[in-house]
Amino acid sequence: MFARLPPEAGDAVTLSIDGKACTARTNDTVAAALLASGLDHCRTTGVSGAPRAPYCMMGVCFDCLVTIDGIGNRQACLVPVREGMRVEVQRGKRELGR
């Protein structure tokens, strides 16, 4: 769905998305990496369970909430990728203590 425009800036960074290795670039946000990976949603909503994907990409809409390194409800568009980062699709509400 999304493709990177050349030239690709930055170095390759490896993170995992739901346990699957995925390559992003330094300076990517987690949301950009999720979209580039071809995922069609990054969470399901807490009330109705509807699928959601990154939308505003600027910290406003809260639709890109994911679990990053074990912490839920993080705004993927505001977090830069890091080598070894564990990103998980968040299903429903965040769990207490996670």
Partner: protein, 377 residues
């Protein structure tokens, strides 16, 4: 000039939870009801509600208030079902019993003594409560922190989704023919020729009866219909977190998980006049106490904090009264608009519709109790 006048059987002044519950109840009695609401600048007590249907600690000093509260709580299931049946909106009422957690032995003992004193009053319609030690609390709510020493528990307490309650009342009253009028701040009330003429910012409204349910603003409106409503604003601050998976299945007075997963944290009692702002010193205390009760809350993001003004009398009890000099003018002032919503809709409204408040139900709630000289005479 266009004729903007409107006529109703009953004009309810105030479109918050109290006014809406009464208006829905009146509409169910077949009355033509107009709800005159202020604009978005109104100091709305309803914004500060904690959505509790709360019984256990109410009524020290006035046993009839405890009885009125219990009567409402007992009617809440019927009330919620009637709203859902009519409007299709579920208000998520549940009554699993409520906890009040203690963070020290002293708090626990003070709580026990308070609840016992309430039950020991002459004229009290007694009901059981239980004092749990830490282990019993932990069985019910495993997430409690190490500082929790115990709790009071009453099976009569419950809670609801108050946003949907408000929505259901608003939809419901209009389905029954009531008219909701926004931007209708009442400037003047004239009682003439057996009817009430209300001057509002959006034109005149006439009605055979009028109900003051205007919260703090009833202080201003009451003398226009020969009533006295000595209430003051009392600030309460609240915090709400992001949604989290359900873990807290019991309502509590200061921490509550809503049916949709957010955690509400309250509540302060501040005498600061008509200032509804939120302050960091108070919200910090509220958040700190909540974390001592449930340490894992510390990981949650706060979505919003806000302040709101309760409608408070000197003794903390409601005022319900019909004017003697302007018959047909009624007042309803209280702070527990969610708990009492069922009683307002099912018991108070029908009596207003009939034109008479029964002394047995409402004499204890007259504002005359504040007139010390009159009592001494």
């Amino acid at each position: 000039m266009p004729d903007t006048r409107r006529d109703f059987d009953i004009a309810v002044i105030g479109g918050g939870l109290v006014g809406s519950a009464i208006a829905w109840g009146l509409a169910r009695c077949g009355k033509r009801v107009g709800v005159l609401d202020e604009g978005d600048v109104a100091l709305r007590a309803s914004r500060g509600n904690f959505a509790l249907v709360w019984v256990q600690s109410k009524g020290l000093g006035l046993p009839p208030y405890s009885a009125w509260t219990m009567r409402s709580a007992n009617a809440w299931r019927e009330f919620a079902d009637a709203l859902e049946q009519q409007t299709g909106i579920s208000v998520a009422f549940e009554r699993p019993g409520g906890f009040n957690l203690s963070l020290s032995e002293r708090e626990w003992e003070a709580r026990r003594d308070l609840l016992q004193r309430i039950q020991d009053q002459p004229g009290m319609q007694r009901f059981p409560f239980e004092m749990f030690d830490r282990e019993r609390v932990k069985q019910a709510i495993p997430q409690i922190g190490p500082e929790v020493v115990g709790a009071s528990y009453s099976r009569f307490d419950g809670h609801c989704n108050s946003l949907r309650l408000f929505r259901a009342l608003n939809v419901g009253m209009q389905q029954l023919g009531a008219t909701y009028l926004a931007e209708h701040r009442v400037e003047d009330i004239e009682h003439t020729g057996g009817e009430f003429r209300l001057t509002t910012r959006s034109g005149e409204v006439r009605a055979a009866k009028v109900v003051l349910a205007a919260g703090i603003d009833s202080v201003r409106l009451a003398p226009m219909v020969g009533l006295n409503v000595p209430v003051r604003p009392q600030r309460g601050q609240l915090i709400v977190t992001e949604r989290t998976a359900p873990f807290l299945h019991y309502p509590m007075q200061t921490v509550r998980q809503t049916d949709e997963g957010t955690i509400m944290i309250g509540d302060s009692q501040e005498e600061v006049g008509a200032d509804p702002s939120s302050t960091r010193d108070v919200t910090a205390v509220l958040a700190n106490r909540a974390i001592r009760i449930f340490p894992q809350l510390a990981t949650l993001n706060i979505v919003r904090s806000w302040g709101c003004l309760r409608v408070m009398t000197k003794d903390g009890f409601p005022i319900y009264e019909q004017s003697t000099t302007c018959p047909g003018a009624f007042n309803a002032s209280c702070h527990s608009g969610v708990t009492l919503a069922a009683a307002h809709a099912l018991f108070l409204a029908p009596q207003i519709a009939e034109g008479q408040l029964s002394p047995q139900d409402f004499a204890p709630f007259s504002a005359r109790r504040f007139d010390v000289r009159a009592l001494a005479a």
